[in-house]
């Protein structure tokens, strides 16, 4: 029953019930001999003593209550730990398990499907797309002769000098069967564009012998091209490996001992679209003992740490013209 008092135009509470109860309890404690209130000390130390006294004897937190609260804190902390546990998966590195080669539509930079007939013949601009994993570049080439007319690329047997084994390169695709695609990672020590790139006919000549990096051709490369009677080639400026784009990426000059693996392309003549559907040749990374590559190109699908499957679309980028400087 709260204590009330009449003051002019209304009731005004003086003490709430809880206050009343508190005062009762306080007075009882003060009278209790065990916890007697020391008025002498109170006079000396003032309200400080009073509050300490109240905190200790009346409102203070007793052991049981404190333990209960501790229990809650520990409970919440334990629950937090339980909540963190699934987060520890952040320490487990993701392993990319590409089950196989996806079928990926080649699209241009704005995301529209790339028209096969729009790919320029013998383009000096390095044209790349990632396949089958991100971080694995491949050249996209529309091969032509010296005067820039598309050349039909026929199927050919390719030899791997390192092992002596051979495989069958299926030839070019597209309206003129002139479009081919090879891995852009050099099979010697793994240099990538712009160090390794395609040299169109106008750049296969003695003037390239003195061109600055990455456009330098070696005398051996020129000689090999002459002997093979091809107008253009793929050359790596790192250590001078040369590949024959007309013959399935076969080795023209060392130091490489392996041809460039080819990406299998599928051409849809009704839409003029191109799809990457697989690869043939050695595996992109030589994994076997003594750096002998697997003959099975799907062997190293899971070795790229950062790559993930490119999925159903892959973007073709034509950004760099390596010859623009020379």
């Amino acid at each position: 029953m709260p204590l009330k008092i009449r003051l002019g135009n209304g009731e005004k509470g003086v003490l709430k019930t809880s206050d009343l109860y508190f005062i009762q309890k306080l007075l009882k404690t003060m009278r209790n001999p065990k916890t007697r209130f020391d008025s002498r000390e109170f006079v000396e130390k003032g309200e400080d003593y009073f509050f300490n006294y109240v905190g200790k004897n009346v409102g203070g937190v007793d052991e049981g209550r404190r333990n209960f609260l501790k229990g809650i804190v520990i409970g919440v902390a334990a629950a937090t730990v339980v909540g963190i546990i699934p987060g520890l998966r952040v320490l487990v590195p993701p392993v990319e398990q590409a089950a196989g080669f996806p079928k990926s539509l080649l699209v241009d930079v704005s995301g529209n499907p790339l028209k096969a007939s729009s790919i320029p013949v013998n383009s000096p601009i390095i044209t790349l797309y990632e396949y089958p994993l991100t971080g694995e570049p491949n050249f996209l080439l529309n091969l032509g002769d010296k005067s820039g007319n598309p050349v039909s690329i026929s199927p050919v047997e390719v030899t791997v000098p390192q092992t002596g084994k051979t495989y069958k390169f299926p030839g070019g695709v597209g309206p003129n069967n002139s479009i081919v695609s090879y891995s852009a990672i050099c099979q010697h020590l793994g240099c990538t564009p712009p160090y390794i790139h395609f040299y169109p006919p106008q750049y296969v000549g003695p003037s390239q012998l003195t061109a600055p990096e990455p456009d330098t051709l070696t005398a051996q490369a020129l000689l090999a091209a002459k002997q093979a009677n091809i107008p253009a080639l793929i050359h790596c400026d790192c250590h001078g490996s040369t590949y024959d784009p007309y013959k399935g990426g076969a080795v023209l000059t060392g130091p490489t001992q392996r041809p460039l693996p080819a990406v299998l392309l599928e051409y849809d003549s009704s839409t003029d679209y191109l799809y990457a559907i697989g690869a043939i040749g050695v595996a992109t990374y030589p994994e076997g003992s003594d750096g002998v590559p697997s003959q099975d190109p799907s062997k190293d699908l899971d070795t790229s740490q950062y790559g993930s499957s490119v999925g159903t679309k892959t973007q073709v980028q034509a950004n760099t013209n390596p010859f623009s400087g020379s």
């Binding site: 509050f51 300490n52 905190g55 809650i72 804190v73 987060g87 952040v90 990319e96 971080g135 950062y306």
Partner: protein
């Protein structure tokens, strides 16, 4: 003796918890104002831990690509990455708050001069490390920020030898050196932090001005020996602050990761996701900004084309001023209004910093005429000067109610926004979970608004309207009621935490939804911090905590 008691005694004996050389804390200092340094340290620790996790995955030879991999492939990678970014943001903001608070209370004065100088150096290192970290993403923004930074250095020919030292082969996409320097700077911060920390413990926290109105403001050995020892009250209070800081660092960016269409002014700064890579066609369409904590420099660059002047205004003069401050302001006055010149400079520094940063955000790269510069910078100076001339220092005794600190009101704003957000979420996706979150933020909001209301309302009351006697009898009861309320709240929070944790186990580790894990973990940390803070309140809070 119960088993738990024995175990805890065993530990406290072995660890010497009772006589740690740490500063003992008087009761009245359990307010966040005196603990801002702990908040900075908490965000530092968080950022270091998350950074080390990122280091397991980051590949300096493929910066952008491995960042994308961390976000898309690594389980909860985006949670760690985004909160790493915001941990750094939090650290920068809190370091500024910490610094300016100590500036205005005069904490740089004798005997804390070294403490202050170390702190300023740590701020510089923090900004540097953050800039390098920002560059590691390798997106269009980062690359342009590096370009601008390198451009500033190269425009002073004598300094251009620094470019390879700082950036290495950044241009060719090799971030190895930037990564190494990022880590080195952070290690230096850690080293200075150890000194800073032990010096701070040595001198103790600044006593209230009412107790020690003049420098040197330190407690004598006798005075502080009767305060609360580090264990357990300080420990409890500190852990609540640490967990709350971590909670914000985790919850905010991961919640923001769901927003895509932030307005242009905020997008490059608040959106934790990287921008497109610099060589993509999309990069042509974005406005490039430096990281927000360097926006002020970015704008100052529009004032003058002379790099030396630019560096003087933007970096050297403010920095040198801050470092030598303890030696120019040599009076023993601590009250801000008794050292008006320095207070004025401090206010202007804050104003200019914020003003110039906002300007750089809204009008990046737009040149500013000298006339506009004078108008923009003179007016605040005049206002501050006039204001300070006419304000008289108020005697501390006459101000009974503790005003609300700017930090509290800022926090309250955050809470209010979170509450509004959670209500929207609840309406959009009505579920037990969203309801729980809305209730939680709602109760925080409620507590906050009650606290704010008290301050706002009490402003109108005459100071001596409340008779002395009444306060003495009433305070203990109302504290008691609040403690009861706190206990109930603790139980509710416990249930909420369990519900959220159960939900966390169902969140997929990658993809769009994975950021929900970060939001949840942040909320759990917040609630853990809140529970500990309530525990602190119930168990340790005295009815009256006098400034002694």
């Amino acid at each position: 003796m119960s088993l738990t008691k024995r175990v805890s005694n065993w530990f406290s004996e072995r660890l010497g918890l009772d006589d740690l050389p740490f500063f003992k804390t008087p009761d009245y200092m359990y307010h966040v104002n005196e603990w801002l340094g702990a908040l900075v340290a908490a965000s530092f620790i968080y950022t270091v831990i998350s950074g080390l996790i990122l280091l397991l995955y980051y590949n300096a030879a493929a910066g952008y690509q491995s960042t994308e991999t961390i976000i898309n492939q690594v389980p909860y990678g985006s949670v760690v990455l985004y909160s790493h970014l915001y941990g750094a943001y939090a650290m920068i903001i809190l370091a500024y708050v910490h610094m300016f608070r100590n500036y205005f209370v005069g904490a740089y004065k004798k005997p804390r001069e070294l403490l202050w100088i170390l702190g300023v150096l740590m701020l510089v290192l923090t900004l540097g490390a953050s800039f390098l970290g920002y560059s590691l993403i390798g997106d269009a923004l980062a690359v342009s920020a590096v370009d601008v930074g390198a451009g500033i250095i190269t425009s002073i020919p004598q300094l251009s030898f620094l470019i390879p030292i700082i950036f290495g082969n950044y241009d060719t996409g090799d971030y190895t050196r930037v990564l190494a320097l990022h880590i080195i700077l952070v290690a230096l911060i850690g080293l200075l932090f150890v000194f800073h920390f032990f010096l701070a413990e040595h001198y103790g926290m600044m006593p209230s001005r009412k107790v020690k109105p003049k420098a040197p403001a330190v407690y004598t050995k006798e005075e502080w020996s009767k305060f609360n020892p580090w264990w357990p009250r300080n420990f409890v209070y500190m852990s609540s602050l640490i967990f709350m800081t971590w909670g914000f660092i985790l919850a905010i960016p991961n919640a923001l990761a769901y927003l895509n269409g932030l307005p242009q002014y905020f997008n490059p700064f608040m959106n934790p996701k990287p921008a497109p890579p610099p060589n993509s066609p999309a990069a042509a369409h974005i406005t490039t900004y430096p990281p927000w904590f360097f926006l002020f420099l970015y704008k100052i660059a529009d004032f003058t084309s002379d790099v030396v002047i630019f560096l003087m205004i933007g970096v050297i003069i403010p920095l040198v001023y801050l470092i030598i401050l303890p030696f120019i302001d040599r009076s023993d006055e601590l009250h801000p209004l008794k050292r008006k010149v320095f207070t004025g400079i401090g206010i202007l520094m804050i104003t200019y910093l914020i003003q110039t940063s906002l300007w750089g955000d809204l009008a990046p790269g737009v040149e500013v005429s000298v006339k506009d510069q004078v108008i923009a910078y003179l007016i605040p100076a005049i206002i501050v000067a006039l204001g300070l001339t006419f304000i008289k220092p108020v005697d501390a005794q006459l101000k009974p109610s503790r005003g609300i600190s700017p930090l509290t009101s800022l926090l309250f704003m955050v809470v209010a926004m979170l509450f509004a957000g959670s209500v929207v979420e609840l309406i959009d996706y009505p579920s037990l979970f969203t309801f729980a979150i809305a209730v939680f933020t709602g109760s925080l909001f409620f507590i906050g608004s009650k606290a704010m209301g008290k301050v706002v309302l009490s402003k109108g009351l005459p100071n001596n309207a409340v008779p002395e006697v009444k306060t003495t009898t009433e305070t203990p009861t109302s504290t008691e009621t609040k403690k009861k309320f706190a206990e109930v709240l603790m139980s509710i929070l416990f249930v909420l935490v369990v519900v959220i944790v159960a939900q966390m186990w169902t969140i997929p580790p990658t993809g769009y939804a994975s950021n929900l894990f970060g939001v949840d973990l942040g909320l759990v940390f917040l609630m853990l911090g809140e529970v500990i803070s309530l525990y602190h309140y119930v168990v340790y809070k005295k009815p009256v905590e006098k400034e002694e």
